[in-house]
Symmetry: C2
DNA sequence: ATTTGATATTGACCGTGGTCATTTTCTGAC
DNA sequence: GTCAGAAAATGACCACGGTCAATATCAAAT
């Protein structure tokens, strides 16, 4: 007789709360908020890579166990925070007008590139969670990548690009090149050329209209 | 007054041993071999993700500290083992004849795809180390990616592909799509379509000759 | 054979992420 | 108010990766 551990991540329960309103004590919301705030403080001081669960709970004034009752693990907390920021960026992108050249497209992506490369550790977390995610439940980062895909597809559909491939496929390609460029950025060998420049090179070839 | 910790990873010293032959005791080589053998055993039993440093040293009959005198950290050991296997595969690839179609190209890459997706954890390590690597010193996995790049460039140069872009750039693109396909493979959302099929789709568009 | 300085090994120890049985707090029914 | 059951919070505890001062071993010089 074996027992199976099923983890209930409260954040998930909250996210997918259905209309049959089960009791969510506002105590829970408060604690959660305290944890997130504390985490943001710690990150501001020590960077994402310097985040320690101990520090967070101390700052939030709760016990260690409480942290892990709210977030499945440290990654889940970071997913929330990083995914949140990326989500904001994509929301901004939606309000921009459709870029008509590769250079314009890339310059729209610059803030994102900056953020994703602000720390090696951040990039690692994103890689782990973005599509490549363990995705037992789809997290904020993966969600935001979905958003991004939609935006890019939308842009592709009404731009001067090649038409011999689905917009969605082309959009997926852009994401692939984005990650590639970031990876090379962190690589000792290739760190000469700036990311934007390299991304432009890839996309010129990828999106070039077939004449 | 601050002190700086400089780590001497013996593997590195051995790898880059210059002609001024400094003393390498064969004791060292033996211990290193024992550790690698033990690690391979443990992996065979528990998988890459189930590898525990304690198990390895116990099996190798050495102390914990010895492990970390030979490998900077657990990742470095995995880098060695995984990178070794990938290097073998690339050596095989070099002896194949140049593929003339996307389907042929992809089918050459199938063993690699299989290996890289054998465990989520393996893929994570590869991502962390491949170009995206912290690369203070370039490790076996990163090296093997360099190898792969050369092979792909070589193939591209003498295949029926588009000629409006450098072979190397196209090769880099193939690597990007390879990782993308693997990432999607591990994603809950997209795990329907097999990797090879999706890779073919990407590469048809990426390599298509511009007419 | 002995000394000496470099190299390799050891294992007690630490930091940190994560667990879980227990306790506290909440809420709704009476 | 109070009681019962559920939800939330607690903190001692564990697992595991990694460190480092101390020790043992080696090899070259005398």
């Amino acid at each position: 007789m074996t027992t199976v551990n099923i983890k209930f991540d409260r954040s998930q329960k909250l996210g997918y709360r259905c209309f049959m309103t089960k009791p969510v004590q506002q105590r829970t919301l408060k604690t959660r908020a305290k944890l997130l705030a504390a985490a943001r403080d710690v990150i501001a001081e020590h960077g994402f890579g310097g985040l320690r669960a101990d520090q967070v709970v101390k700052r939030a004034g709760v016990a260690k166990g409480t942290f892990f009752a709210h977030f499945a693990d440290k990654d889940a907390l970071l997913d929330e925070i990083i995914g949140g920021q990326m989500g904001d960026m994509f929301r901004d992108m939606q309000n921009r007008e459709v870029p008509k050249s590769v250079e314009a497209l890339v310059s729209e992506l610059v803030p994102l590139l900056r953020f994703m490369s602000c720390e090696r550790y951040v990039f690692d977390v994103i890689l782990r969670k973005s599509g490549a995610a363990a995705c037992d439940a789809i997290g904020p980062i993966a969600m935001s990548f979905g958003q991004q895909l939609e935006i890019l597809s939308h842009w592709i559909e009404r731009g001067p690009w090649r038409t011999d491939a689905d917009a969605e496929l082309l959009a997926e390609g852009i994401q692939a090149f984005l990650l590639q460029v970031l990876a090379l950025h962190f690589c000792a060998l290739h760190s000469g050329k700036p990311m934007e420049e390299r991304l432009v090179e890839y996309l010129l070839v990828w999106l070039k209209p077939v004449t």
